[in-house]
Each structure stands twice: as C-alpha cells, then as structure tokens.
C-alpha cells in the first residue's frame, strides 16, 4: 500500500560534517507519510545535526534529502521556500523569540504565510497554545515561564501552520512524566486528525514505544546508522548496541546475529 505514495522524506547517502569533522556518514532511510518517526542514538551522536540537515539549516557534505520525492538539497530558492512552508520545527532549546509574547511567537508564522487578520491570528495562536496546555499564558514573554512551558510553547509555534511534517528535537526532555505523557497523546492526536508526519529526536524509551511507527538508530562509534525499523521490533535486533539502547543497557548478551 505504501509503495505507491512517495516517501514524505527520503534520505539518500547522506554524510553530515562540520568542516572536516564528519558527524555521520552513509545514512539511507525513508519516512512514510503519516508515520511517527524516531531518530534515536546516544547524546552527541548527531541527531540534532540530522534534523538540521533535513530542514536545510545545514548543507549535506554528501548525499541528498528528498521531500515528497523532490530533492530539497538541490531545490532552488522558490521551491525551497514552498517546502519550508510545510515544515514545523521545534529546536532542542525551544528557541522562542525572546522579545515576543507567546501569542506573537505562534502568530508570526501565521502572519508570514496566511492572509488572516490580526484578530484571527491571535485566535489561532490561542488555540495552538491551548493544545499544549498553555491557555492563559498567551501574553507572557518566554522569560516569564518555566523551561518545560517554553518547550511546549515552542511545539505550539511549530504547529502554527498545521505543517505536513513536524520536526521535534527532544520535545519531552525536561518535562515531568505527566506532561511528557500528554505530549505523546497530542502527537498521536495530530497524526490521527491531521495526518501529520512527525519526526522526533528523543531517547525517552517510554515515549518511543508509545508513539513510534518507525525509527533510525545512529551509532557514534561507527558514525553511521545501525538499524531502521519499528523500535518494538528492534528490541530483538541482531546488533547488541541497538538492543542495549532499547533495553536501557540490560541486554548484555553478545551479538545473536553473530552466534
């Protein structure tokens, strides 16, 4: 069934580097429309960098990223802007614009890409903030709310335009378990109601097993991906490094695939 639709995102032969320092090489995977896709891997292995490559904030050192079957890497300015319109991105630190209130933060993308009036923009912004549990905080500045709330506000901003693809970099890091759980529910709800494709960088296993359809596992030692697939199935993966990650290091038996 999936074969006929082009993948929402295809990563082909992607090598990422900062100058001469190669972060990851030879990444190859597809993200299918409507899937919740997890990027997993230890701290500092290049998960955020992979996300930055997928949204065009870093240029690949080699390889290409495709969105909906079209090359994003080689797209011209206009095409790129059209593709950007379909992304919502939440950065690891939140990255709210500190000089604007929460409602203005969420409203800026709306003002940029829609013909809505100021009052309508505010209405939509209030709704998006309410979805992440920030009703009543519309006129607060980012510095006036807690870190976890900033994170949720950043998610609201990423959802502002009802993007086809939502990128979330460690959305639940620093959230209390209940908020983290609510966030999982929200992600599942977005997918169910709007068909949003969600790409999440996370290492919260509970969240991974709740929401994930598909995932990629990055390994810093070999500087490439070790596995692609549903995380629940990857628990029995042939590579012990993958199994250990998904069982919080409890699986220490040596490689079954090799045995």
């Amino acid at each position: 069934m999936r074969v006929s639709v082009p993948a929402a995102i295809s990563v082909r032969g992607l090598t990422m580097a900062y100058g001469d320092y190669v972060v990851m090489r030879d990444l190859d995977f597809d993200i299918h429309p409507g899937d919740i896709f997890i990027i997993m891997g230890g701290s500092g292995c290049g998960k955020s960098t992979l996300m930055r490559n997928m949204v065009g904030l870093e240029e690949p050192a080699a390889g290409e990223v495709f969105h909906g079957g079209k090359s994003f890497t080689r797209a011209d300015e206009i095409e790129r802007r059209r593709m950007l319109r379909s992304f919502g991105v939440m950065y690891q630190g939140g990255a709210l614009w500190t000089a604007m209130t929460l409602a203005e933060n969420v409203g800026l993308p709306l003002g940029e890409y829609t013909e809505l009036s100021a009052a309508e923009i505010r209405e939509v912004a209030v709704l998006k903030l309410a979805l992440v549990g920030l009703r009543g905080f519309e006129d607060h500045l980012p510095s006036e709310i807690s870190g976890g709330m900033q994170k949720r506000a950043a998610i609201a901003r990423a959802m502002a335009l009802d993007p086809a693809i939502l990128f979330l970099d460690e959305p639940s890091a620093g959230l209390d378990p209940i908020s983290a759980r609510l966030l999982d529910d929200l992600i599942l709800e977005l997918r169910a109601s709007l068909g949003t494709t969600v790409v999440i960088v996370t290492h919260e296993l509970a969240s991974i097993f709740t929401v994930a359809d598909d995932s990629v596992f990055l390994d810093p030692a070999s500087k490439t991906m070790l596995a692609v697939g549903n995380p629940r199935e990857l628990r029995d993966h042939g590579d012990p490094r993958v199994r250990r990650f998904l069982t919080r290091g409890e699986d220490t038996s040596e490689g079954r695939a090799l045995a």
């Binding site: 950007l84 990255a95 993308p109 940029e112 810093p220």
Partner: protein
C-alpha cells in the same frame, strides 16, 4: 610496609610478565612503569600478562597508571592479558575504556611558530575583509528589497530600536558632548588668551563640534552602547537557535534583524549628532562666560558667524555613515558569534573594537575627500 615495586621478566612465546608487588596508593607517587616501558621499547613482546598475586593494596593511582601504560601497549601492538589483575581493578579498567574517545574530539594545545602565526593572521585578515565586504553587499541588497517593499520585519521592533538608539542614549550623549565642548574651550582659551583673541574660542568650539567631534563622539558612544548591544542580541539569538527558527520559516534573518537595526541607527545618529553639536557649543559657552568675560550673546553671535550650513551638512553626512558602520559592525560580529555564552561576550567586545576602527578610518577618508572638494 612491604616495598612496592614493578618488575618484569620475559617468558616463552614472546611473553612479557609484569609483576606487581606491595602497596600502590595515591598518597605516594604514581607507580613507576618506566622499567617495563623500556623493555617494551627495546624488544617488543607479543603478549603482556600481569602477576598481581603479591599486591597488598591498591587504589586509583594504580588504575590511572595502568590505563596510560596499556595505551602504550596498544600503540605498540602488544596484546594485553589482564587475567592476572585483581577482579575490581580489571572492572575499573574496562569501565574506563568502555566509552571510546570520540575521534577528532580531542583538542591538543600545540605550540605555533611565529611565522605560522603571522601567516594565519594575514589569512584571517583577508578572510575577514572578504566577509565584511560580503556583509556590506548583503546590506545593500536588503535595503533594495526594503525599497521594493519585499523586506519583512516587525514595525514594533523597529520603533523599539529607534528608542534604544535615540532617546535612551540622550543622557550619555549630553554628558560627553558637554564635557568635550568644555575641554575644547579650555584648551583653546589658554592658547588664544596669549594673543588676546579669546573670542575665537567660539569659532574653535563651534567648528570642531559641528564638523568633527559631534559625529565622532556620537559614533564612539553608539559603538560602545548600541553596537555592543546589537552584537550581544544577535549572538544570543544564534546560540539559542532563534535565528535558525527564523530561517526555517523562510524569513530572511538579515531583513528581519539587521535591516531595522541599520535603519534605526542611521536615522538616529544624525539627530543625536545635531543634539551633541549644540550641547558641545553650550559647554564652550559655559567656559567662555565663566572664565573669559565673554557674554552669552556675544559668544552666540560669534559662533553663528563662524559656522555655516555646509559645516552642519558635513557633520550630518558623516554621522549617518558612522551610524551604518556601527550597526554593521555590531550585526556582523553578532552573526559570526560562536555557539557559547563566552562567544557572545567576545562578539560584543569585537563589535565595539570593529565599530570604532571603522568609524575612525571612515572619518579620515571623509577628511581627505572634503578637503579635496573644498567644503
């Protein structure tokens, strides 16, 4: 206390047996593996094994030394057999090596020879100039987009910036300009008194303030105040990924952040300069009236006869260019900012230095040009 020691002996089949005896604790020196190392270097064995049966007590000292020692072994391609080590020690060693050091992550401080430093400084200067010219070019394009109504930034940001670059700078501009006028008058008065030409203090102060010092002091104050603030704002936005967030929205960070700052400063600078001119002249008048027996009216008439409209134009043209330069220095340094809070501090500092250097160089060029065209 038993004598602690490390000895080694050769066994069959290319084996080197390292024998550890006694107590190894952090209290003393780290255990000395020199002897074993020499053995390793003189005739590399194939295998290395430990005999620690005579070790009485050990702590981190031994673990630390063994770790570095085994690195030498690995480098020399000697296979190490840890079976002879105490169980706990073995586990600690394994733990210490479990997380492999990331390739390329180590930064070693290296002595750089003078010639190389000079060379790379030259290259940096060249790159820096290229980047600066590129930034100025981008600024020109951005202004072009604004004229065509394509550049987008928030009006409310712009008005805040106007206030920041204008009204909020008034107190410091007042203070500095008044003092500069005072100093000029003072120095001038002492010289001119010798010829009985005290009244020309008014000319000196008026011309100096209007043509030079008003614009110059204003620019230096703004470089320290606003240029640094711009660099810190943009630098922080880079660190917190706020600039990335603009980019993925398809908003050009240059139009959104740099353009309003450049506009605000180049609009406010001439106004501040005009204000500084008058405050400076007031400073000169203060000295003349209190020290030189020149009446206020007389001083004012003399000033009015000394300075013409062209002097004002010279000062104002300079000041708007200085405003653009200070804004560019601040925004350029801010946008080059690295990824840490220390980098934000450096960006602010270098924005001030760059701003002042640019302003003074530009002033020198202006002086030559105005001299050539005779205004």
């Amino acid at each position: 206390m038993a004598v602690s020691g490390i000895s080694c002996e050769r066994g069959a089949d290319g084996l080197l047996l390292v024998r550890l005896t006694g107590t190894f604790r952090l209290a003393g020196h780290l255990p000395d593996f020199e002897g074993v190392r020499r053995q390793l270097a003189s005739a590399p064995p194939r295998r290395l094994a430990y005999d620690a049966s005579a070790v009485e007590d050990w702590d981190g000292a031994l673990v630390a030394r063994l770790l570095t020692f085994e690195e030498t072994c690995t480098a020399a391609r000697v296979e190490v057999d840890r079976a002879g080590l105490p169980e706990g020690l073995r586990r600690l060693l394994e733990l210490a090596q479990a997380v492999p050091e990331k390739e390329g992550a180590r930064r070693s401080a290296r002595h750089v020879p003078l010639l190389e430093r000079v060379g790379s400084a030259t290259l940096r200067l060249r790159d820096g100039t290229t980047v600066f010219i590129g930034f100025v070019g981008e600024a020109g394009l951005s202004v072009g987009r604004m004229v065509r109504g394509q550049a987008r930034f928030r009006r409310s940001d712009f008005f805040l910036l106007l206030e920041q670059c204008g009204g909020q700078a008034l107190p410091i501009v007042t203070l500095i300009s008044f003092l500069v006028g005072l100093i000029l008058a003072f120095v001038g008065a002492i010289q001119l008194e010798q010829f009985g030409a005290e009244i020309y203090v008014a000319n000196l102060v008026g011309i100096a303030m209007v043509r030079e010092m008003g614009a110059m002091m204003g620019a230096i104050i703004m470089a320290g105040r606003t240029g640094a603030a711009f660099a810190a704002q943009l630098g922080t936005m880079r660190v917190t990924q706020e600039i990335d967030a603009l980019e993925t929205l398809g908003l050009a960070p240059f139009d959104f952040l740099v353009l309003p700052r450049m506009l605000a400063l180049s609009l406010m600078m001439p106004l501040l300069t005009l204000y500084a001119d008058f405050v400076g002249i007031a400073g000169g008048a203060f000295v003349s009236v209190t020290m030189l027996d020149i009446g206020p009216q007389q001083y004012w008439d003399q000033t009015a006869s000394a300075i013409g409209l062209d002097d004002f134009v010279v000062g104002l043209v300079k000041s708007s260019v200085f405003g653009v330069l200070v804004a560019i220095a601040g925004c350029l340094r801010g946008s080059q900012c690295g990824n840490s809070s220390a980098a934000v501090g450096q960006a602010a500092t270098s924005a001030v230095v760059t701003g002042i250097v640019l302003v003074i160089v530009a002033d020198a060029i202006f002086t030559v040009i105005f001299n050539a065209i005779g205004v």
